[in-house]
Amino acid sequence: MKKEDTVKLISAEGFEFVIDKNAAMVSQTIRNMLTSPGSFSETQHGVVRFPEISTPILEKICQYFYWSLQFASGKETEFYIEPELTLELMMAANYLHT
């Protein structure tokens, strides 16, 4: 995989998730960061930091990105969310517009 096709998402604790750019684009917020012309440093380096999002939540978010792409292409499986994650995940999803 080429470097320019991936993005690096960094959680509050500093964990790095390297995922497909296409998957990350499921989030409207990340899409805006990566595609808006000009000043965002995220656009140039393909690195986005989320100081408000903890590692397990960011991991779940990344899983959702891939699940969402699969779902859109017709593979209709269930996306399971552990009850203990629902609230934080909801807030993160709201922030990421995903």
Partner: protein, 598 residues
């Protein structure tokens, strides 16, 4: 909350947010896990918390003690019609720190002591207690301690004149709904101190003409409802833009205090069922070119000359009046902005439609039911290309007509409707339309609602009814449909409701097998009577509080073809707690339970 609003809400929430809300409101067990995360709940954005709360309420999973975890993040809560809401609920709601809007209308469990819990809440601005019949004057004492209240609805509660008078201490009120209360002229006099009032509802009160003169002191008043009162003369109220005088006998509007300038702001006038001493005199003090909404239904009017200068009209309802073909011409002359026109139950005939064709260019809704219009009106209707809603039920429309001077040749008259490319609703109930006549309709691609009811229709009609790409509701009531016909029927792809009531030839087996083959379609037939069908079919969801509680048997998210298995299990685990007694009785006759019983 109504079904359509729920759907809109789900569309607004983005994918993962909705999945989270669904997961959080999956079962009592899942709630027990997240409810301990207090700090997360406290910092949750209000719109998210409110969406979660609404979902929990809809799933019957909300309890008073669960309310406690939301007390930092909720600004608005709607509990309308939830009879289990009582003092205990109110005790928790009283602790909500930022609660701005509270709707507990139609909550039969609310009494005076329940209101004590919200006394003194200084964040509360909007409170709806309509039809809480146990609330009396003693409850008003709690209400007047809410210092910043701006909107208060106490219509059809058990308040007396004394209670109403006490409301005068709520000086910040902008909206006051006193509908159905015995408000007297003296009580209205006491309320004159409410200088900020913009909206005042006094329908069904004991106000008379002498009380109506006090209205002049409400200088900000924009909306006034005096329906079902003895008021015959409304004084000149300069800021008024909305007036409802339905079911009154009207002598004059704005004559008292008239200073030579016609009333410049009145835009909406609701005069359902009124009787006039002299309609032209009564309406002569307002500027006719400002009026955009006029409801004259059920009035015994036959002379409509006053319409002449009402050039801004967008909504006109003259149903059940004595409107005749000659006066329809007057509507045509002011029809440039007309979007809604109701002519049902008038003496209109096809000739009258001729004078409308071309004169109501942006009309969207046209209701002609229970008139004598026939197929000769259809070409004129075809000249109204912006039509979205067309009601031709109970008319003489047959679907075909003879060429002039040639009795042999029949023309399919519904062809004229093919020009109506924006048409979404078409009602042809109780007409003489036969099978073949429906054929031209199949090219109406935007059609979402089609209602037919006639014993002239047979299986042949079903052939023409498969192809509508957006159709959601299809009613073929009282038709001679056979079991074989319905089994071979290929329903339109988006269909949600198929109404086959009064199709007496259909057997239960045929209907059940159709339901099994098309689980996304809700079937309406006497074989499975769900009780709520009549309300939904009439399209009048606003008056039907019951619709929000009809049992959801379909998966909420249509795209998710296989609902989560845990969800199904949960339905069987907790049946009694989730559904009320009525709903359980409904379930008994639903297709799902019949399938599983077999």
């Amino acid at each position: 909350m109504m079904k359509e609003e729920e759907e809109e809400e789900e569309e607004r929430e983005s994918g993962l947010v909705r999945l989270c809300i669904e997961a959080a409101s999956e079962s009592k067990e899942s709630i027990e896990i997240w409810r301990r995360q207090r700090r997360t709940l406290e910092k949750m954005p209000t719109p998210l918390a409110e969406a979660l709360l609404r979902r929990l309420l809809r799933r019957r999973l909300l309890s008073p003690s669960l309310l406690e975890v939301f007390q930092q993040c909720i600004e608005e809560i709607n509990l309308q019609g939830e009879n289990f809401v009582d003092s205990e609920w109110m005790a928790y709601l009283g602790a909500f720190r930022y609660l701005r809007t509270l709707n507990i209308a139609d909550c039969k469990g609310i009494n005076n002591s329940a209101l004590w819990a919200i006394s003194g809440m200084d964040c509360l601005k909007d409170l709806d207690l309509s039809r809480c019949t146990k609330v009396t004057d003693a409850g008003v004492m709690h209400l007047i301690s809410i210092p910043n209240l701006e909107k208060l609805s106490v219509s059809e509660t058990s308040l007396t004149v004394e209670g109403v008078k006490h409301l005068s201490s709520l000086r910040k009120l902008l909206l006051l709904d006193l509908g159905g209360l015995p408000v007297t002229d003296m009580a209205l006099c006491t309320l004159q101190v409410l200088k900020k009032l913009e909206h005042l509802d006094l329908w069904g009160s004991k106000i008379s003409n002498s009380g109506a003169t006090f209205l002049k002191t409400f200088v900000e008043l924009r909306f006034l409802n005096l329906a079902w009162t003895k008021v015959t003369k409304v004084p000149y109220l300069p800021s008024l833009s909305c007036l409802n005088m339905s079911n009154c006998s009207i002598m004059s509007i704005f004559e008292d205090g008239y200073c030579g300038v016609k009333h410049p702001h009145l835009a909406r006038l609701q005069l359902h069922g009124v009787s006039f001493t002299d309609v032209h005199e009564a309406l002569s003090f307002l500027d006719p070119s400002r009026l955009s909404f006029l409801d004259l239904s059920n009035s015994s009017l036959c002379d409509f000359q006053f319409l002449l200068n009402m050039t801004a009209l967008e909504h006109l309802d003259v149903s059940f009046s004595r409107m005749e073909d000659d006066s329809v011409d007057l509507i045509g002359r002011v029809g440039a902005n007309l979007k809604f026109l109701n002519l049902s139950n008038t003496r209109l005939r096809s000739a009258g439609m001729e004078s409308l064709a071309g004169f109501i260019p942006i009309i969207e809704t046209l209701i002609l039911s229970h008139t004598a219009v026939d197929d000769f009106a259809l070409p004129y209707i075809g000249m109204m290309p912006s039509l979205k809603v067309l009601d031709l039920s109970n008319t003489n429309v047959k679907g075909f007509c003879h060429m002039l001077g040639n009795d042999q040749e029949e023309i399919l008259s519904l062809i004229a409707l093919q020009n109506l490319t924006h048409l979404e609703r078409l009602d042809l109930k109780e007409t003489q339309v036969r099978d073949g006549a429906l054929q031209p309709l199949s090219c109406l691609e935007d059609l979402k609602f089609l209602s037919l009811k006639s014993d002239f229709l047979t299986d042949v009609s079903l052939l023409f009814l498969s192809s509508f790409p957006k159709l959601k509701y299809l009613g073929i009531r009282g038709a001679v449909l056979t079991s074989a016909g319905i089994q071979s029927f290929n329903p339109p792809p988006m269909l949600k409701i198929l109404d086959l009531r009064d199709c007496w030839l259909l057997t239960e087996d045929a209907l059940l097998s159709f339901c099994e083959n098309h689980p996304q379609i809700e079937m309406r037939h006497e074989q499975f009577d769900t009780g709520s069908t009549a309300q939904i079919a009439s399209g009048n969801a606003s008056s039907a509080h019951g619709t929000s509680r009809t049992v959801q048997l379909k998966p909420k998210w249509a795209k998710m073809s296989s609902p989560p298995s845990r969800f199904q299990k949960e339905i069987f685990v907790d049946e009694r707690r989730k559904y009320s007694r009525e709903e359980l009785l409904e379930l008994q006759f639903s297709p799902l339970s019949q399938v599983s019983a077999r």
